[in-house]
């Protein structure tokens, strides 16, 4: 009974991986992506502020609309906060690295 090598059916692991490309390939660098995200977060906050103000002024706006807007702003902010925490963690991890 012939014994075939077990490595024959395996393809190299690297073929499925995307080739390492420079970070600028997509056209957007990290700084502008961060700027966009913070801008979107700011929009959410402004929307929430505007609807709360409208409710306080007695304008015809539904209460659930205000709650939804504030909830969206709050969720967006917690998400951004978590992303920031992760970034700081990564930075500290690198700084702790012994050379």
């Amino acid at each position: 009974m012939p014994i075939s090598s077990i490595g024959g059916g395996l393809s190299p692991l690297t073929t499925g991986l995307p080739s390492a490309s420079p970070a600028k390939a997509a056209g957007a660098d990290f700084g502008s992506a961060l700027k966009d995200a913070v801008g979107a977060l700011d929009q959410l906050g402004k929307k929430a502020d505007a609807s709360s103000l409208a409710l306080a002024k007695g304008e015809p706006i539904d209460v659930h609309e205000v709650m939804l807007n504030t909830e969206q702003a709050s969720l967006g902010f917690s998400m951004a906060l978590q992303v920031r925490n992760k970034l700081v963690d990564a930075y500290q991890e690198v700084m702790r690295m012994s050379v």
Partner: protein, 138 residues
């Protein structure tokens, strides 16, 4: 953003149910109205017609909107009351609206429960988002 789109769907349903509530309140308020725009005429009860909010013709729908507020054309009740200011001078009959308070009450319950259901959906969406944010918390 995907998360906020599902919040918008439930939000549109909340708005629609609020409008339905307004229409029901108007019906109950006018349950005995015998004069419309200064004319001797019974008030006709109004109903809301819902339709899915669709951006594209074949999309699964992005919520709910009120297509129209229509008048119920069915006949109202006639009451013999010659002393009433709005009684027909010949027959003495007063035309009352076709508003049935029982129907309006059940409609109101239905609207209120639908509102609650959508609030529950919203809470679930919010909790899911919160859980996914908690994922990042070490």
């Amino acid at each position: 953003m995907g998360l906020f789109s599902s919040m918008r769907i439930s939000g549109s349903a909340l708005t629609a149910q609020r409008l339905r509530m307004d229409v029901i309140a108007g019906n109950i308020a006018n349950a005995d109205t015998t004069r419309v725009n200064g004319q001797r005429q019974a008030f006709q009860r109004q109903q809301v017609v819902f339709q899915p909010l669709q951006a594209a013709p074949n999309s699964s729908g992005e919520g709910l909107q009120v297509a129209a507020v229509v008048r119920d054309q069915s006949a109202g009740r006639q009451v013999y009351d010659p002393a009433n200011a709005d009684a027909d001078p010949n027959t003495g009959m007063v035309a009352y609206p076709n508003v049935d308070t029982t129907t309006e009450m059940t409609d109101m319950l239905s609207a209120s429960r639908a509102y609650e259901a959508n609030v529950t959906v919203l809470n679930s969406i919010k909790q899911m988002a919160q859980r996914s944010i908690d994922l990042g918390r070490a």
